[in-house]
Symmetry: C2
Subunit: 337 residues, 2 copies
C-alpha cells in the first residue's frame, strides 16, 4: 500500500507528476508556473478532449498508462486531421483523493510516452480533486507545409479514403469487456493482440495528416466516433453526401472474427465503433495515387466517394444501399460505449 494523492497534497502530487515528464529544451516556460510559454508560428492549431472514467475508459480494461496515452493521442489525432503538427500539450487531471499516487504517476508516464513518440511536450496542467478520474487534454500545434486542411473542402466525385484499417478499437473493447467470463473472447484477444492494443493505445496518424494535406487532400477528419458519423461531418461541412462500399472497408485483423463472436455485422465495428483514430482523407480521384505514395508504408484505401445530396449511405456487395444513420458514437445517448 503506497501513498495516496491526498497524502502528498496538491503540491507534492504535482512535483511527483512533473517528475515523470521529459523536459523539452525548446519550451520557454514549462510546467509549474501560472502558464506555460511556448514558441509558436503565425498560426496555432488548438484542440481539446475530455475523458471521463466510466465513459471513455474503464480502469480494469486499460492500465493508467494506457489512459494517459489515449487521452493525449485523441487530441494529437485532431491536430493531424487538420494537416497540422502537434507540439505542446496541457493536461487537466481530476482524481479522487484516495487514488494511489503510483496510479497517477503511471498515467503521466503514458502521457509522456505518447508525447515523446510524437514530438509533443506536456508543458502545463491542473490537478484537482474529483470523484472519478478525469483527463482533460489540450494540444497546440502548427499547420503543416500545406497549411490548414478543413472538413469543408469535399466536392461530389471526390474519393473517400481511409488510412490503416477499421474496427479494431471497437472490437477490442467488446472483447475486453467480455474476456473475464468468456474464454472465446479471451482467446480472440490472444490471437489478435492488435485489438486490445487499438483500444488501449491508439496510434494517432501524426505523420500521415500533414503528408496527406501536402499530397493534395481537400478535406480530412480523424475517426474518433466511427467512419459513419465522422464522414457524415465531412459531408455535411462540404454540403454533399457520401457513399461507402461495404466490401471496400478495410477491416483490421481479427475484426471479422470478433464480429462473428459477437454475432454482429463486421461493418458495425468498422463504421460505428469509433476510436480507431485513423484518418478519412478526401481527394479528387486523380490524386489518390499520389496520396498512397505519400502515406506509404501506411495503407490508404478508397472506401467510397462524395456524391450530390445529403447523408452517408452504405452500398452492400449485391448493390443494396442503406443509410449509415446512427451507427456512430453519440456521447450524449446513453446506450453508447
Amino acid at each position: 500500500v503506497g501513498e495516496e494523492a491526498r497524502d502528498l497534497g496538491e503540491r507534492g502530487l504535482i512535483e511527483r507528476l512533473l517528475g515523470r515528464l521529459a523536459p523539452d529544451p525548446a519550451v520557454i516556460v514549462g510546467p509549474g508556473d501560472d502558464a506555460a510559454a511556448v514558441p509558436t508560428g503565425p498560426v496555432t492549431l488548438a484542440t481539446t478532449d475530455l475523458l471521463v472514467e466510466g465513459v471513455h475508459f474503464e480502469i480494469g480494461l486499460s492500465s493508467p498508462a494506457d489512459v494517459g496515452w489515449k487521452a493525449l493521442a485523441a487530441s494529437l489525432s485532431d491536430v493531424a486531421a487538420m494537416g497540422g503538427v502537434p507540439r505542446h500539450a496541457l493536461v487537466g487531471l481530476g482524481a479522487p483523493p484516495p487514488t494511489p499516487a503510483a496510479t497517477l504517476e503511471a498515467l503521466y508516464d503514458g502521457l509522456d510516452e505518447c508525447g515523446r513518440a510524437h514530438g509533443v511536450a506536456v508543458v502545463g496542467g491542473d490537478t484537482v480533486r474529483a470523484d472519478r478520474l478525469i483527463v482533460a487534454v489540450a494540444v497546440l500545434g502548427e499547420p503543416g507545409p500545406a497549411g490548414v486542411l478543413r472538413r469543408a473542402g469535399g466536392r461530389p466525385g471526390d474519393a473517400v479514403c481511409v488510412t490503416g484499417a477499421l474496427g479494431a478499437a471497437a472490437a477490442g473493447l467488446a472483447l475486453l469487456r467480455a474476456a473475464a467470463d468468456d474464454p472465446r473472447a479471451a482467446a480472440l484477444l490472444e490471437t489478435h493482440p492488435g485489438l486490445a492494443a487499438a483500444h488501449r493505445r491508439p496510434r494517432p496518424r501524426v505523420r500521415e495528416g500533414p503528408a496527406a494535406a501536402a499530397a493534395g487532400a481537400v478535406a480530412m477528419i480523424d475517426l474518433s466516433d466511427g467512419l459513419g458519423t465522422d464522414l457524415g461531418r465531412v459531408a455535411e461541412a462540404s454540403g454533399v453526401g457520401a457513399r461507402l462500399r461495404a466490401e471496400a472497408l478495410p477491416l483490421a485483423p481479427g475484426v471479422a472474427e470478433a464480429a462473428a463472436w459477437a454475432g454482429v455485422d463486421p461493418v458495425r465495428f468498422a463504421l460505428g465503433g469509433g476510436e480507431d483514430y485513423e484518418l478519412a482523407v478526401v481527394a479528387p480521384p486523380d490524386r489518390v495515387g499520389r496520396l498512397i505514395g505519400a502515406l506509404a508504408p501506411t495503407p490508404l484505401v478508397v472506401v467510397g466517394s462524395l456524391v450530390e445530396g445529403r447523408g452517408v449511405v452504405l452500398e452492400r456487395p449485391g448493390g443494396d444501399v442503406e443509410p449509415v444513420g446512427e451507427l456512430g458514437h453519440d456521447h450524449f445517448r446513453e446506450d453508447d460505449a
Copy 2:
C-alpha cells in the same frame, strides 16, 4: 420542462452551444472542425483549469452562467499573472445526459460573457457525457509588452503587493452556504453584494497583469488558492521567504463582518480563502509608486516583503510572528471547500 442534453444528441447540443458564442473575425478556424486555428505571435502562453461540480462549484449557490464565467476567469487570471494577454479559449464540457439543454446554454452564455468582457474568443471544445458537470478550460494568450513574467524573479527586500482586496470570495462562499438556514448570513449577503459576486463572478486582473509587468514587477502570481499558499509558491520559486503584515492586508468590504459572523479571524479569509483572483505583485520598493500609478484605478497595496530564508510568516500588530502554514487551499486534502 425543456429539452435535455440527451434529446439533442451530441451534434444538436454542440450546435446549440456554439450558437451562444460571439464569433471573432480574427479567428482562422473557429469551433466545429477537428481543431481551431488562431493567429499567434512568436510566443504563446497556455494554461488550463479543470472545474468539477461539487468540488469547485455548487449548483444552487452559483447559476450555470456563473459557472461558465468563473471557469474561464480562472484561466484568464493565470495568463494575466504571467504578464500576458489572453486571446483564445477551448472548453471541454462534461454533463449528465438528463441535464437541461438550457442549463448548458446558460453556462456557455457565461463563458461567452466573460470572454467578451476580456477580449477572449472561445474557439473550440469538446462535449461529453459525465456523471456531473465538468468544465475544462484552456486559454491561449500572448506575452504583454514586457514579455513573460515568472514566479521566480523575487529577491529579499522586494515589496509584496496585492491588487484590489482580499477575502471576498471565501467569505461569500461561506455565507452562501449558510444563508438558507441563517438569517444573519443572508442579511450580510444583502448588505455586501460584492461577497456573493466575488465567489460567483470573479474579475480576473487581465488589464493589471501586463500593466504590472510593464511597470517593473519582477514576479507575479494570481491568488487562486489564497495569498498564503500562492505567495509561498512565489517565495519558493524565488528561493526566498516572505513576511506579511496582518494589518496591511486589504480586506474586501464585508469580510470583517463575515469573519465576525463565522467566529474566525478575518485574516483566515484574506490569506487562506482562495479564489479572489487578485494578483500578488513583487517588485523592488522603489518601483512601488510606479506600479500603483500604472494599475490605477485598481488599488495596489504593499502587504509585506520578501526576506532571506524560507516560508511565509505573518506579523501581527503586536509584533508576534506566526507561520502562515496551511491556511491556503489544497485541492487534495478533503477538508477544503
